[in-house]
């Protein structure tokens, strides 16, 4: 019976309501589900490919070659298990294409016979030989390199024996900073690439047949114990894919949050639609009640009704998403740079639905509580029926679920709660703005004749003053939508500004300069007419103890981890690069503590330490802490004198840890330097000469790097922007529903105004004034808050500098308001055009 009353009858009677609710819900969950599905596809693909990415069962790697005794202990452990092995060395070096005289930084992957155990390297034609190198497809495309061409790598010239079309060990094409070249390991030594301190990674790969997952974990622990240096990593396949998953994960997390805003918008719409639906159904509910249905039954009926709508929408969405995914699968794969599965996993699609369902039901709780509080018996006698009021705490289940869902989606307590607080902020500010506006309007308009500022404005102002939370709801949905758009646009403009080449950014970044080369390099540069800047030593070391406590290796394979945990364990496990420097570089700023020079060194043996602020926070280090460093076997004790902020995007050589000069000057080191922007015109010639004279020195073309980085950011931004626009469309649909409802609620008012002599044009003018004002206000609030959040994120997280892009604020705000007005006019067109005859009918 209830089923019949609440579903079939209802649907027949209010098709518009049901269609609008379903559409709103569909749009709301579509974004979240879509992104969830894609990110699931990517991670499951990565999991599947984990072995191919790593190419073996277990890898022992470090940023240096293993010491003889380390190598020995490793061999002893491995000798107990039958295995096969090979070595892979990845280094960055400058490579010259001899025929075209082009030079660029290349990742050289030095491989041995047997590589890879899992996956494959596909050659365009022919087979691998060991007397030359192989270009990756990317590089061959960039250079037009052909088989037989000669390339200068380090001090040697090799000829290109073939082109690698596919490398299953490469995670995401397009996300790596330098294209690859493959070189047999036997040739590397001759090329003089493996200088002490060169940037590179040295890995020993093992394949152990008949080993279980459990065995590998045990083996991993055993090796870790035998090789205690935290700089040495022991990696199993599932961990190798984490790096890639992390990059993509961060992106999809942000996209999910953007989509969550879309969902929240649609929930605002559902709240509104249901409210107005329940009010119009209240009389019938009272009658149901009179005939014996309890209030609880009625509430259950409404919940059941919503559940069935939700269920049908989920079914509809799945039916929609599957073909859409199949359609865009190939474009998506090429965009991400990874071959995705062609079909969807339906289970993954439905996984997040319970959460979404809960969000939907909890947003209705306040209304249902209102229903329970309605004195139903008394309503039938009353002249005007009204729904019982709801209280603010009725929303608490909804907000609780929202908070946990945002943490779940972002995989981060910090980002999730930041997101949640931002939503509350928009909510609070919107309510405040509406209330203040109403108070101000009361002062301005009430107690003055209706037509002092024109009749239309008078009528519009009265509406704005007397509409209650319905006004707040439409305002809120618009403000939320614009906040999101503004956030994306402003953040983008901030980031773009950071990644454009200005006078202060260097044109070349030099690294791997050997200590003994430095004087020659400086001499040569001077004779070439350029002046190197920021010449900074790089010394490898390790944090050993803090205030006497040992830094331990954090186990990498603990269970559930949020993003914060991951960052922490990664930085703690890594050896660190540090430098010595007397003062601060131009791109550094003192935050806390004092300069090295201004503090006296009473204790000669104590070295001063300056830490990058966020590094210090991650490692839990404070001013005054005593840190013991292990610099290649030598212990150095230091005291933290200051914390500083580093502007990394300046591309000047900077480090997390600076020591005062003196104690470590003699440690083995390499040097970094930059070629200032002023010598931009000499860049290419200089680069060529450096490669010729100092083949082991690597150069990064900062300009090119920034292009690359900004194109990666651009991709990410486009993805997020796409979702933002989806959210905005949801906002507009909701606005359409809302204004349609509001205008029809005012149907009689409009008819009456016409009967009293107002023309349709004048009534539209009144609506434009009223809604236009509301939209411009909401858009302004949204764009302002969005900008504030962008600035906060930009300054706090990316250390960007303060700026405002007015153009990107005003133009979208105005065009959005116009879009909203058009929506309102369309929604109200028929109502305004109608002849006022209906005034005489009874209902």
């Amino acid at each position: 019976m209830i089923f019949n009353l609440f579903l079939i009858k209802e649907f027949k009677k209010y098709p518009f309501f049901f269609i609008l609710i379903s559409l709103t819900l569909l749009l709301g969950i579509f974004g979240i589900a879509g992104i969830g599905v894609v990110s699931e596809q990517v991670t499951s693909k990565l999991r599947q490919n984990a072995k191919e990415l790593l190419t073996s069962d277990l890898v022992v790697s470090a940023r240096r070659e293993l010491l003889a005794e380390e190598d020995l202990s490793l061999s002893q452990i491995m000798a107990r298990h039958p295995h096969r092995k090979y070595q892979v060395i990845d280094i960055y070096s400058m490579v010259k294409h001899v025929r075209t005289d082009q030079i660029r930084l290349v990742e050289i992957r030095c491989i041995e016979e047997g590589f890879p155990f899992y996956g494959h390297l596909s050659l365009k034609s022919g087979i691998f030989k060991t007397n030359g190198l192989y270009l990756s497809q990317d590089l061959s495309d960039l250079w037009g390199g052909q088989v037989g061409d000669e390339f200068k790598v380090g001090e040697k010239i090799f000829s290109n024996l073939g082109i690698v079309t596919k490398d299953t060990s490469q995670g995401l094409r397009g996300f790596s900073l330098a294209p690859r070249i493959y070189l047999p390991l036997s040739l590397v030594k001759d090329a003089g690439l493996l200088k002490e301190g060169s940037t590179g990674s040295y890995a020993r790969h093992f394949r152990v047949p008949n080993f279980s997952q459990q065995d590998f974990l045990k083996l991993q622990q055993e090796i870790l114990k035998a090789l205690p240096d935290a700089a040495i990593r022991v990696t199993l396949p599932q961990e190798s894919s984490e790096q890639t998953a992390r990059v993509l994960g961060l992106l999809t997390d942000f996209m999910s949050l953007a989509a969550l805003i879309g969902l929240i918008l649609s929930l605002v719409g559902i709240f509104y639609l249901y409210q107005s639906h329940l009010i119009s159904r209240l009389k019938d509910f009272c009658l149901f009640h009179l005939y014996g249905l309890s209030k609880k039954d009625i509430v259950l009926g409404v919940i059941g009704q919503f559940s069935i709508i939700f269920f049908s929408v989920v079914v509809g969405m799945s039916l929609l998403l599957i073909p859409i995914y199949e359609m865009v699968q190939s474009q998506l794969s090429s965009l991400i740079g990874m071959e995705l599965a062609t079909t969807l996993n339906l289970f993954e699609l439905l996984k997040s639905m319970p959460f979404l369902y809960l969000l939907g039901v909890t947003i209705l709780i306040p209304l249902l509580m209102g229903l329970l509080r309605t004195p139903m018996g008394a309503q039938l006698k009353a002249a005007k029926i009204s729904l019982g009021t709801f209280r603010f705490y009725d929303f608490s289940p909804f907000f609780t679920i929202l908070l946990s869902y945002s943490v779940y989606l972002s995989h981060s307590f910090k980002i999730g709660s930041l997101f949640f607080v931002s939503i509350l902020l928009v909510l609070g500010v919107s309510t405040l703005v509406i209330k203040v506006t109403q108070i101000v309007f009361r002062k301005i308009f009430l107690r003055r004749p209706l037509n002092v500022y024109g009749l239309e404005i008078g009528l519009a102002s009265r509406h704005l003053i007397h509409s209650g939370h319905k006004l707040t709801l439409s305002f809120l949905s618009l403000a939320l939508g614009t906040t999101l758009i503004s956030l994306v646009l402003q953040l983008d403009s901030l980031i773009q500004k950071e990644f454009t080449l200005d006078e202060k950014k260097p044109s070349l970044f030099l690294f791997d300069i050997q200590e003994e080369q430095l004087p020659d390099l400086l001499d040569f540069s001077r004779s070439f007419g350029v002046r190197l800047e920021g010449v900074t030593p790089l010394i490898r070391g390790r944090l050993d103890r803090v205030n006497g406590m040992k830094f331990t290796r954090v186990p990498e394979n603990s269970t559930v981890r949020t993003r914060e945990d991951e960052v922490e364990s990664r930085t703690k496990n890594r050896g660190i690069n540090l430098t010595y420097r007397a003062g601060l570089s131009p791109s550094e700023k003192l935050l806390e503590g004092e300069d090295f020079s201004s503090s006296k060194n009473e204790n000669e043996s104590l070295t001063f330490v300056s830490l990058e602020e966020r590094f210090a926070k991650r490692m839990g280090l404070k001013l005054g802490d005593k840190i013991t460093f292990d610099i290649q076997g030598v212990e150095i004790e230091g005291i933290v004198k200051n914390l500083r902020e580093v502007k990394w995007t300046s591309f000047y050589p900077n480090f997390f840890v600076n020591l005062s000069p003196g104690a470590i000057d003699e440690a083995p080191k390499t040097f970094l330097a930059v070629l200032p922007k002023d010598f931009h015109h000499k860049k290419h010639a200089y680069q060529r000469e450096i490669v010729r004279r100092f083949p082991n020195v690597s150069l990064i073309d900062v300009e090119e790097l920034m292009l690359k980085l900004s194109s990666i950011f651009e991709k990410a931004r486009q993805a997020i922007e796409l979702i933002s626009w989806l959210s905005l469309i949801i906002g507009l649909v909701i606005l359409y529903g809302l204004s349609h409802d509001q205008v029809y609620r005012r149907y009689f008012d409009i008819a009456l105004l016409k009967s009293l002599g107002l023309t349709a044009g004048q009534i539209r003018k009144q609506l434009i004034v009223e809604f236009g004002f509301l939209f411009i206000l909401a858009a302004s609030v949204g764009f302002l808050i969005g900008w504030l959040i962008a600035i906060t994120i930009g300054i706090q997280i990316f250390k960007l500098s303060w700026s405002v892009d007015l153009y990107r604020m005003v133009v979208p705000a105005v065009s959005l308001s116009i879009m909203c007005l058009v929506t309102i006019l369309v929604a109200s067109w028929r109502a305004v055009a109608v002849r006022p005859r209906e005034l005489l009918s009874d209902s």
Binding site: L450, L455, G458, L459, F748, S755, L756, G757, T759, R837
Partner: protein, 218 residues
């Protein structure tokens, strides 16, 4: 004042077509008070809406003060109605966001009357609601609401007042008092009144009673 000839109006099309008015002829002189009676569904409201220009007839002519409503554009009709007619509805139809005083002054403001507010105050006073002039409709009782509606209908000094069951939503006593007030005001301003009602006693207070049956007047 009003001259109607061969007025026809039907709703719907095809099978479901209902012929409501099948050729109505009626003439009403200035200052007359006419009661329009008939069974429910006989077409009283329809006739009223056509006379007030709230809807258009299928055929036939409506002449008011010598002007044919059919030949006016929607805009002209709107202005003509604002200047010459007042309407009182069964459901009052007050604008919920405007105070009593603003509701009454609205028609005057639409006509750009410079003394709108002062005139509206006089009218509110005349219907005995000066102490309620700043209240919103939701704060008024039914009887008070209908009195405000009455004041609004008469605000622009129309020559014709249309009223469709004005006491239909009020209890007997209140209804009677509001009707007393209406007849007083109509008499005082010499306004022509066309009143639709089911109430025989009320109909008798008019100078003429016309009855609508099967789509025409009898």
């Amino acid at each position: 004042m009003i001259k109607i000839s061969h007025l026809k109006k039907s709703y719907g099309v095809g099978e479901s077509k209902v012929d409501v008015l099948k050729g109505v002829d009626l003439e009403i002189g200035a200052g007359e008070t006419v009661a329009l009676v008939g069974k429910s569904g006989s077409g009283k409201s329809t006739l009223l809406s056509l006379m007030a220009g709230l809807d258009r007839p299928d055929s036939g002519a409506i002449m008011i003060r010598g002007k044919n409503l059919n030949q006016m554009s929607e805009k002209e009709l709107t202005l003509f109605r604002a200047q010459n007619m007042g309407i009182v509805f069964q459901q009052f139809h007050l604008i919920s966001t405007l105070t009593a005083l603003e509701n009454v002054s609205l028609p005057l403001m639409i006509l750009h009357n410079t003394e709108a507010e002062q005139k509206a105050r006089e009218l509110i006073d005349e219907v005995g609601l000066s102490h309620r002039s700043g209240h919103l409709p939701s704060q008024l009782s039914g009887g008070e609401g209908q009195r405000v509606a009455l004041a609004r209908a008469l605000a622009s000094g129309p020559s014709i007042l249309f009223a469709d069951e004005p006491s239909g939503n009020l209890d007997e006593e209140t209804g009677e008092r509001v009707m007393d007030l209406m007849f007083d005001l109509v008499k005082k301003t010499k306004t022509t009144l066309i009143l639709v009602t089911h109430d025989k006693e009320l109909a008798k207070r008019c100078s003429r009673i016309v009855m609508l049956e099967h789509g025409s007047l009898v």
